[in-house]
Amino acid sequence: MYDGKKIIPGLLIFLGLVTYPFWHNGVSGKTGYVPKPKLPVDKKECVEPKDYIRVNHKDLLDDWKSSAIRKGRRTYVASNQKRYTMSLTRTCMQCHTDRAEFCDQCHKYAGVENKCWDCHMFPKEIKKE
């Protein structure tokens, strides 16, 4: 082996980088961590089926925003023909009352930063202030 003094440290850096997730998660101790958003106790169903909401809630909210603010249409007809008011504060947050215990659970886990909170606030947070 030639130039081992330079090549071996280089290889060690490479190995350190590709195995970084192990070190990172090992140090934080969160490898087995699964977010547990707190679901409302008294309500059984969301606006749309759970699988749809889990993946597409961002699009739904974006549609609601455009529809309510730009077109003035505030009634949403769900796939099961139930009618809802298109409002984050008056519809979603009525059941999901705590941002930290519901929204942020998964958003933090997946590294998502959303713009909802640039304008909206949870009633609880206002009371705290």
């Binding site: 030639y2 280089g10 290889l11 990172h24 087995g32 597409n56 997946a110 590294g111």
Partner: protein, 333 residues
């Protein structure tokens, strides 16, 4: 008209896609494509990568062969080019850093054209440099963005990078700038090899195969992000289960996810066998990582062995009498 090599690669990629479609959709081999192949691919990548580098490290570099394009350091009143003909380790590091981070050598890419009437033109062509730079940097940023699926908690650096990458769009879903750039750059780099006859002539099947494979990864990734969504929570939960060696099957995903994953696995498993090894290779290029001291220091051929020499003095001593006899001039009487 595309040549055979590019067609072979297209057929190969389509064939691999069919394998996946049959395996996942038809036969339902989720365990194979969701757990076994990813593990095998990662092991292949790491072991193959290290093995290849160690193999390179075991070959001697006996000759002093830095490539230079500047004045070598010589007399004090001749201005030396410290970077293009690096005399010091600092110069070597600076030159290599510019090579690796900004692909400086690609700026020397000349286009040669024969123009009427009988005029040979050399033009600097920056398209290759631009395409390569755009592709590699986007690739790096996309790779770092993906670390949000591998790290818990997600480091704030990754969040900044995401924010910066999505800065051009306030709408949903966010189309990242790098996604668009990598698509354009990769398409250019592929089409370049098909369209220009000179480059087509020197292109091998693998030169088309790798860009196509990456293109498959990029397109499936973008589609998964913009159109056919998957449940990212469950994707991350699956990654974490793989990392903790208690593998589970990915849930809440679609076929695009399996295509994306399978192509990534193919790419990293193929990595150590392919030209993609230019990643470690650039650090081990004797033409780039040696100082230009070919004249200021004495380099002795490592294969030199003692040679039996016969000097003129010894020759004269040997034949002195005979030379005297015929009257030849002698240095020493």
């Amino acid at each position: 008209m595309a040549n055979k090599n590019s067609l072979y690669s297209i057929v190969a990629v389509v064939f691999l896609l069919l394998i996946l479609l049959v395996g996942v959709q038809g036969l339902g081999w989720y365990l194979l494509f969701g757990v076994l192949i990813p593990y095998v691919a990662v092991v292949f990548f790491i072991v193959g990568f290290v093995y290849q580098v160690l193999r390179w490290a075991s070959s001697p570099v006996p000759f002093h062969i830095p490539t230079v394009c500047g004045q070598q350091k010589s007399l004090p009143w001749i201005k030396a080019d410290k970077m293009d003909s690096p005399q010091t380790t600092g110069g070597v590091v600076a030159r290599l850093a510019l090579d690796i981070l900004f692909f400086r050598p690609l700026l020397k890419n000349d286009r040669i054209e024969l123009q009427e009437p009988q005029k040979l033109l050399f033009k600097t062509s920056t398209y290759l440099w631009l395409g390569a730079l755009a592709f590699h940097w986007s690739c790096l940023i996309i790779l770092l963005r993906h670390s949000r699926f591998f790290l818990e908690p997600v480091p704030s650096v990754v969040l900044w990078l995401q924010w910066f990458d999505g800065i051009f769009q306030g709408l949903l879903p966010i189309l990242y700038a790098t996604d668009l750039i990598i698509l354009l750059a990769l398409s250019y780099l592929f089409i370049r090899r098909v369209v220009y006859p000179q480059i087509r002539y020197i292109s091998l099947p693998s030169d088309y195969f790798v860009p196509l494979l990456i293109l498959g990864i990029v397109v499936s990734g973008i589609l998964m992000r913009l159109v056919y969504r998957v449940d990212l929570m469950q994707v991350k939960a699956w990654v974490m289960s793989m990392l903790s060696f208690h593998p589970t099957l990915p849930k809440g995903v679609n076929l695009l996810f399996y295509i994306h994953l399978f192509f990534v696995c193919l790419l990293i498993a193929y990595f150590p066998l392919s030209k993609l090894m230019h990643m470690p290779g650039i650090f081990l290029s004797p033409t780039r990582n040696l100082r230009n001291v070919s004249r200021s220091e004495r380099h002795i051929n490592p294969w030199d062995r003692p040679v039996k020499v016969h000097t003129y003095q010894e020759y004269e001593d040997e034949f002195r009498e005979a030379m005297k006899e015929v009257g030849l001039p002698l240095e020493k009487d």
